[in-house]
């Protein structure tokens, strides 16, 4: 069984202005700290969220960083 929308979305991408992988890496820590602080990170850094939708590798690194930072917050 295949999830058609997801498969098509992987091919067509987010269809919005997005950062490059390099720009994403450059801003990832600031973005994650904003998210962890409950700030609207997407508005502060347009282009980041569309890239994370379109790029599974950057999305995985983002998810890991956010998880790690949230773990730290909890133990602070």
């Amino acid at each position: 069984m295949t999830d058609t929308p997801r498969a098509l979305r992987r091919i067509l991408g987010p269809g919005e202005q997005e950062l490059s992988c390099e720009e994403c890496f450059e801003l990832l820590d600031s973005y994650v700290d904003l998210e962890a602080a409950g700030v609207d990170a997407g508005q502060a850094m347009p282009g980041m969220w569309p890239h994370l939708l379109g790029c599974p590798a950057c999305a995985d690194e983002h998810d890991a960083l956010l998880e790690l930072v949230r773990d730290d917050e909890r133990s602070r």
């Binding site: 498969a7 091919i11 067509l12 990832l28 820590d29 690194e61």
Partner: protein, 225 residues
């Protein structure tokens, strides 16, 4: 382990220390210290990054079912070494826009993620033809299904007609066969950014073509969960 003496203290002294939180400031001060405090800070940094690298390796261990605990830990150790070097080399560019630990973690996570993906694909060939066109859905309603089929047919035809050979190769590998972007970049002897740019351009062409043959520009957005 990293040899502290091999690192450039001058570059570390250029790091700003304006509006930092106490913890970040104390990391910077310790890494700037000319004496033993700096060696200790580098050891602490390595321990911090090893924790982050292990965290990432653990998250993605399902990609490496053949690796035992020692091999996984070895991957994490190497990633932590590389990340420590990367952080020490770039301390001058740390602008305090995030916590020091968040900034440092991202290097460990990236190095660990790349190492895991590389190991997972080490002995695998990169599929550049679709193993399976993933467009047959069992869970859509009849109207939705018809729309998806129509879109899928148009998409397959667009992939074969509007993309360059290179764009098609990259799109099929990344977006259909789900080869990781950095693994493909390595095989093509180019950068992750360059490969992603190719994917991005191919996607834009496909969207444009789909719009030209009558699919609403918003159709892919409606596919979002």
């Amino acid at each position: 382990m990293i040899e502290p003496a091999a690192l450039d203290i001058v570059s570390i002294e250029r790091a700003p220390a304006g509006l930092l939180d106490d913890e970040s400031l104390s990391w910077l001060e310790a890494l700037r210290d000319p004496g033993a405090r700096r060696d200790a800070a580098i050891r602490d940094l390595h321990a911090l990054l090893l924790r982050a690298a292990r965290f990432q390796v653990r998250r993605r261990r399902h990609l490496l079912p053949a690796c035992d605990g020692a091999e996984l830990d070895d991957l994490a150790e190497h990633a932590a070494d590389d990340a420590t070097m990367a952080v020490l080399k770039r301390v001058e560019s740390y602008e305090g826009r995030s916590r020091f630990t968040t900034w440092a973690y991202k290097f460990a996570i990236m190095h660990a993620a790349v190492a895991v993906r590389r190991a997972a694909w080490q002995h695998r060939e990169i599929p550049i033809e679709p193993a399976d066109w993933p467009f047959v859905s069992d869970n859509a309603g009849p109207a939705e299904l018809a729309e998806h089929r129509e879109l899928a047919t148009a998409l397959r035809s667009a992939i074969d007609t509007v993309l360059t050979r290179h764009q098609r190769t990259v799109l099929i590998a990344l977006a259909v066969n789900q080869v990781p972007v950095d693994v493909l970049a390595e095989r093509l002897s180019t950068s992750r950014g360059a490969v992603y740019k190719t994917l991005h351009d191919a996607r834009a062409k496909l969207r444009q073509e789909l719009a030209a043959v009558g699919f609403l520009p918003g159709i892919a957005e409606r596919l979002h969960d």
